[in-house]
Every structure is written in C-alpha cells, then in structure tokens.
Assembly symmetry: C3
Homo-oligomer: 363 residues x 3
C-alpha cells in the first residue's frame, strides 16, 4: 500500500506541475498571443561645446562637428573624449618610436624594407638619433611619427560628461501594423527643450546627459573618458497590444559593452585613428593625425509585441491538454503494472476479442 500511495502522490505532483505549467504558458507567457519582433529606426543628435587649453593647441573650442565622428547620428554615436594629436605630418624619413625592436646602435641593426604590424613605416636601414639619448631605426613614414605612449589624463575633453544625446526612435510591429515613437504624444515641446532623462523623475525624456548614461551603468565617466569604451543605451518596447496603445512605452536601460578589465585585453577601451588632410602652399600634402579615444554609444532596441490570436491559442491548448493526458497514462501504467491487484484491474480494463479469423463473418 505504501508503494501505491507514493505513486499516487507522484501522479498528484505531476498533475499539479502540469496545470501549473499550463497556466504559466497561458497567463505568464501569454500563450494565447501571436507575437512579433520590433523593427526600429534610430536617429541621434549630440549637443554641447567645451573649451580646452593646451600648450600644443592653445585655447580651442570644440563643438559637435569637431568631436562627433562620424557626424551622421545613426544608431551608433561616437563622442571623442580624449585625443592624441600629431600635427603637421608629412611623408618623409624620421626615427621610429623606440621599443625593443626599433632601438639600434648602428645602421646594421636596421633592415631596409622591414615592416612589422606595429611599425609606423618602412625601415630605410639607417640608425638615427630619436632624442639626445636613444637611437632608433629610421623609417619612411608620415613624419613625425605618432607618440601614443602617454595618454592624457585626465581626459582632454572631460567636459563631455555634460553633453547631451537626443535619441529619436521609431518602432514598428509589422504583423500588427503598429508603430510608435519614443517621443510620446503626451510630451509637449516646451518640456522636450529642457528635460534630461532620469529614471525616477523623467523616464520618458529622450534627452540623455552622457555622464548620467555612464553612471547608470555603474561606471565612472572620467575614468572611462581616458581610454574610451562602448556603452549600450537599450530601449525596450515590450508591448501587450491587447491593452491600450498608451501602455506601450519605451523603457531605457544602460550597460557597458566592452571589457573594463584592461589587464586582460589588447588595446583596451575604444579608440581609432583618423586624419585631416591639408595641401601646403607648395602643393605637398600634410595631415593632422588624431588618435581619438572616446565613448561609443550603441543604441539597441529590443521589443516583442503580443496580441490575441486564435492560432497560438489553439496550439497551446492542444499542447496543454496533451499534458493533462499524461496523468491518465501514468495512472493507467501505475494501476495496471504496479499495484498488487493488477491482474484484476487488467481484466476489467481490457476487453478480449476472440479472433476466429477462419470462422463465420458475423457472430
């Protein structure tokens, strides 16, 4: 008897789990809804100006056209926060940056035509003084070569913390032909001129202070500004379209995407090099090389909409009922094979139809 109680108990547990999972699929996971993934379009705009004062450049103002690269304002925005500038580079010969490979004593240490992945240019085979104490191999390159050993700290454009980022996001659910944008119809333009996003006080303001984005992801802006990094600005549009459209609102969240741990990575942070090209009065080219460190903001839009539909409802009811059927099967198995009086039950359960193939067609 203990055995059968145990079995009955298990069957009970099983039935409970099934009805629970059935309800879960139906109510929590909304098994009665057809779902669709979001289609999204993003435009962005950064605002802010800042002044720097360095011995190299003097007083200089930086505006959007200077520090947003590329300027387009798509769903990825880069804001330069730090930079190593190498002014007036021109094609020519000059000493390579000193490191284990490029330091030399005599010309013989340098191989004409040698170039490695980390070279600034192609070795000419000469050994020339880099400064008063060190000699390095001469290279044919954009000269003078960039010296990026020392990253400015604090960051050059540390004021970028106060810049603002406007995000305009239009979403569309194709199956339901439902579209909406993150600037909600309830928001007026006076509010939009001055608001700044805040999770508590202004959760629907589409204008973000860069410092706040970084902070909300648990990072330190000034630290991140030095070597750069990649941030995600996530917009979540999970919508239940069985309810009013006004309940379908964006939810913002922030996350750091690159790995902070600079010890375990090559080229930590986020940086890239670009150049501004000039034509000198004598017709030769020169350029300003910029190694730009900064924060890339990837605007990621997630979303799933659900709406009642007869097909998934039917399918889920089907699967769900099949689950209930498991109980019957289990009970049968238990009763017919496990219980003491199984022979008795079997006799009652099955109807034996005698097979008299060769006999008469009708009884």
């Amino acid at each position: 008897m203990r055995n059968s109680s145990l079995n009955l108990f298990m069957v009970f547990i099983y039935c409970f789990l099934q009805s629970f999972s059935f309800r879960w699929v139906f109510l929590w996971e909304k098994g009665y809804q057809e779902t669709d993934a979001v289609v999204s379009s993003v435009t962005t705009k950064v605002k802010g100006v800042t002044l720097t004062n360095t011995s190299l450049l003097g007083a200089r103002i930086w505006d959007v056209a200077d520090y947003v690269i590329p300027p387009q304002g798509e769903n990825t925005v880069f804001v330069m926060t730090n930079a190593i500038l190498t002014l007036n580079q021109s094609q020519g010969r000059c000493p390579e940056l000193p490191d284990d490979q490029t330091k030399c004593e005599v010309d013989n240490n340098c191989v004409p035509g040698y170039v490695s992945t980390h070279s600034s240019g192609i070795q000419t085979g000469k050994c020339v003084p880099y400064n008063s104490s060190i000699k390095t191999c001469e290279v044919f390159a954009w000269c003078p070569v960039e010296d990026d050993y020392h990253i400015p700290k604090p960051a050059f454009l540390r004021e970028a913390e106060n810049f603002t980022l406007l995000v305009k996001n239009n979403i569309w659910y194709r199956k339901f032909n439902f579209s909406k944008r993150n600037i909600l119809p309830t928001i007026n333009s006076t509010y939009l001129k001055n608001c700044i996003y805040d999770a508590q006080t202004d959760p629907f303001c589409p204008i973000f202070r860069l410092g706040k984005i970084v902070e909300a992801a648990g990072q330190d802006f000034q630290e991140m500004a030095v070597e750069g990094g990649v941030m995600a600005l996530q917009i979540n549009w999970d919508c239940n379209l069985d309810r009013a459209a006004s309940h379908c609102v964006p939810k913002y969240s922030f996350r750091r995407l690159d790995n902070k741990d600079s010890a375990h990575t090559v080229s930590p942070g986020y940086n890239f090099r670009f150049a501004k090209y000039y034509k000198n009065s004598d017709g030769t080219d020169s350029r300003t090389l910029v190694k730009a460190y900064g924060i890339r903001f990837d605007i990621m839009v997630f979303g799933k909409a659900g709406k009642f539909d007869v097909i998934p409802t039917m399918i889920n009811i089907g699967s769900g009922l099949a689950l209930f059927g498991v109980a019957t099967v289990l009970c049968d198995i238990f009763v017919l094979y496990c219980m003491k009086k199984k022979y008795y039950y079997r006799e009652k359960k099955y109807k034996y139809v005698e097979d008299y193939e060769l006999g008469a067609d009708e009884t």
Copy 2:
C-alpha cells in the same frame, strides 16, 4: 433539451474551429516546414549630378562625393538635399546668435564662462552688437557662428529627386545553405544599365529613382527635401524552398520612418553637422561648417524561408491531434455533468472496481 442542444452546438463550433485552426497551421502557416531567418548583405551606390547657383557659392556642381555622406554605400545611405553652409569659420570671439537667453544690453547680462546646451561657444562676459539693432553676448567659438533660423526653401539640392540608388542585396538562409541576390539571373546587363524600378513595369530592377521611393511611401519629395527625413526601403524575401528557387524573388516596399508631424517633435526631419577643415597659409585652422539636411535611406531586409522537415511536421501533428482530443473531453463533460440523464450515462461510462484491499488477492 434546449440546454443540451446549445451545448452540442458549442461542441460542434469548437470542433469546427479546431479542424480549421489545424488546417490553418498546416496549410496557411506551413506547420510542416522548418523555418529560417534571412542573413543579408547590402551595398548601395548613388548616381547623379546637379548644379546650384547661389549668391554665396556662385555656380557649383554637386556630385556623389559631395552629397553622399558618409560615402561608403552600406545599408544606410544619406543623400544631402538641403544645407546651411557657414564658410570660413575660425576660432575666435564673436556675438552669439540672438535668442531670449543671449540678447543683452550691458556686459553684466553676460556671464563669463557660461555655456548651455544650445550655445555655439563659451561666453566671454562681454555684450557686443550682433547687427545694427540687436546686441548679444560675445562667445569664444568657431566664428562667425552658424545662423540656422532660415532653412532654404525650396531645398538647395532639390534635383536630388532624379538621382538614382542602386541596391545590391545578397541573402543567405543558413539552415538550408541557400543564397540568392536581388539582381536575378534572368536580368541581363543591358537592361540593368537603363532600368528604373517601377512596381508595375520593372518590379525586379534594383535601381531606384529617389523621387519614386519617396512618392511610393505617400510622401512629397520636395517637402521632405527641405528638412530631411528617414525612409525605409524594405526588401522582403519570403521564400518557400519546397518550390523552385526561381520563385524566391525580392519584393520591394517603401515607408517613411521618421515622424512627419513637425509640430510634435524636437528637431524635426533629419540633419547633422559636419565640417571640412582647412589650413590657412599662416598655419591657422579654418573650416566650412555644413548643416546637412537630407534623406537617409535605410535598406531593411526581411525574410523567412521554409522547407519541409519531419520534426516540425510531427510536432504540429501532435499539437493538432491533441486539439481534436478536446472535443472528446468536452463531450464527456457535457454528457456526464450537464445532461438530465447524467447518472445513467455515468453508470454506463465508468466501471466500478470494488476495492477489497483486505480480502483475497484473486477474485
């Protein structure tokens, strides 16, 4: 009796719905197919030249390298249609643009070092004449500051309506290792040199006239050209791979992505600022600031391919049969609990097995 007929009717309706939904899942929704989402690669190329004649620039020709920014031709293409150019900006001091905040009477109205989100630069604390009638606070900025109050209307590069956009799209269904491109094998290169997409006459020509794209989305190109906007060029690759590959063809559609209603939005349309930097003969920097308004074309590729596969077929048959089972269950419930003669039916339905636990093992 009325009650039971009603119930029978409901059961009938239910069975009908089930068999309908089963067929729906199987035939309409192709429940017997394994599906895969599209992987896509897009390259684009814009063609066209136009001439502008303004007092500021004189006669000037604009070609692809001038108005496509950035130039790469990926799945997002921006074509400049309007622009506010501020020539020969250099770092210096000049009066700020007049607005409620920057107008002043005396130096005391201006705060040295003040900068707001909408500033062009950093206030020096002086109040200087902007023009003969208005005085504004002086700023340290790229001078002269941009005046973007008046957007050129009609649009500066309104001829962009006649530019063409070539879209090359390769798609791939990973699961089925099926790839195809939007330039169909049946199309010859002579045709491609001269064709222009038209939904009726040339539905497979991959070259689009910009004006037609905008028009097909129900918009007015000249109106959109003034403040810019974002357009989607959608390519749909829904393919039934149980049929011949030649039936798998792209379907183009067009949609405006940004919100037209400029009253309810901040910075309506689509624009961004970029600058061309020059080195003057005295070594100082100057730049031409361009506030570029234009139309961004986002090429969006959608697609789902299906192919017969035994697994989803089995699963859907399973769910579907379970659905049929619902009818049995409902009939039982109805007959055993709702009908007048339920006791009679119950007696016939159930077999009572007497429990004589404590008695003999065999009957």
Copy 3:
C-alpha cells in the same frame, strides 16, 4: 489478412517515427531548453603599413588613417586595396569622358543643360577636344573629370594581404544574463601581441590576417583586391548553458558575400567615391577625388544559447505524448473501418445507450 498486416506494419512504422522524432526534439534539438538569441557588440582595429611607388604620387606610405574608411572600427570595416585618384579637381569646364553619348563632332551634338545618370557634370553645349583624336561635349563639372576605364592591376595596395584585423566581440544572452567575449580568459596578453588566427593552430586568436580571411573563404586575395568585394567574418556562439561557461567559445568562419561573377552584375566588386577638399591660397576650392576599391569585412555574430527550463520541457512532452496518441487513433480507425470483422469490433468497442428522451427519467 495481407491488407491488415500491411496496415499494422504502417502503424508500426508510424510509431517508430514518432518515438524517433520525439527523441530528436528532446535530445538533438534540446526541446527541454529555453533558448535566447545573442546580443553582440563588436569593435575592430586594422594594423599595417605599405609603400607605393607610382609616377602620379611618387613614393608614398599608406597607414591606417589613409586606407581604413570610415576609420571608426565598428562591425563593418573597409580596407582600401585599389584606388583611382584624380588630383586637383576644381569646379570648371572641361571635356566629358568619351562614350557613345558624349562623343561629338560639332557643338550641335551637345545639348546645353543635358545631364544623365552617368554624366560627370552638366553639358554646356560646346564640343571640345578630349585628346588629339576625339572630341566630346564640354561639361561644367569638377575638372578634370575622373577617368575610371582602367583599373590598376595588380591592385595598388596589394600588400593589404598582410594587414591584420583585430576583432573584439562581446556577447550577451539577455534571458540568462550571461556575457562573454571572444578574447577568452585563458589567453594571455603576450600571446595576443603576436598571434594570428588559424583554424587549426590558433582557433581562438582574435587577430586575423586579411589574406587568410579571403583564402579561407576560397577566394584569391589579389584577384579580389582589384575590384573589391564584401567578406563576412562570421562568429558563432552556440552555447549550451547547462554545461560550464568555459565550453561556450566563439567559432569563426568566412564567406564571400558579394557575387564574384562580374559578367552578370552592374558595378561588380565594391567601390565608392570620396573626396578630400582643399582650400587654395586664392580662396578657391579644390579636391582630390578617390574612387576607392576595397574589401569590406562585415563581422556577423550568430548565436543561440539554451538552458534547461521547465516550461519548454512540459510543452514538448505534451506535443510528444500527443504524437504517441496518434498510434491509438490509427489502430482504432484501422480496426473499426478497415478490417473484415469491423462490425464485430464495433459492437465490442461502442456501448449503445438508448435514448428515451420522452420516456421516464430514471430506468
């Protein structure tokens, strides 16, 4: 009897298939797991320098800032491998490139104001000598017009084969809050400084030699470098999160995305035009037009993670059991409708309950 054996055999086959597909769904397809799609963030960096020596430019060194356009290092990287440079263009009048449409004998052949999709500029209506033997219509354009009939072969920057591409990829499975990056924790920085990806020897090195990528996709780098192309660098992160996180590793693969067959395509390969703008000492603009051919590397990240979850397990058990039910139904159908002694079986199967609606309520 033969008929019934056949039917029994079919039922047997069916049951076998079902139990097989059930196991398939459960074990191979991991029907007991909840799944999630990957969210990915990519940064890239190209390294390498090369020297060219042409009559037009003389000896010239090319570094990252010169040949990576745009410079940002997002999930799409373009490396210029070939180029047609048109130096010192300025706005003016000059003969159009000769072709069927633009060749002329007298002024009358040219239509003032005429512009086509393939024009370099707007016709002035004059017929002027293009060279000593050919006359073409004069255009108002950036002059001299670009002559792109002859693509340099071998490619101008053929050394790009040895450039390296560093790919940093962070992935995230939202549902399971699991994140990982392609620079595995087991890899130290010394290794990363010098490693080059190789499918056999270094499958987890995130640094790729461009030549190897192209080769791994079965293409010829030098051939591809001439007209350009689009390559996919695919990273696959299929992870079974029921196992240890260290088993979740990236798998790289390579594929050519554009169509190689240049005969069947318009503008084969991959190229785009951009310009560098200069200000002359007299204040006029000039530009260097670059028609850049090159290889675009699209880093595509795929991935699906699975983890045990009670809901999909229940649903799949449900569907699976329903499948088993099919056997019962089929057996019944067969026995009751197909076998010779069907009437006999029917009598045994069904219990007829007489309906005496109008009679007494109880028997």
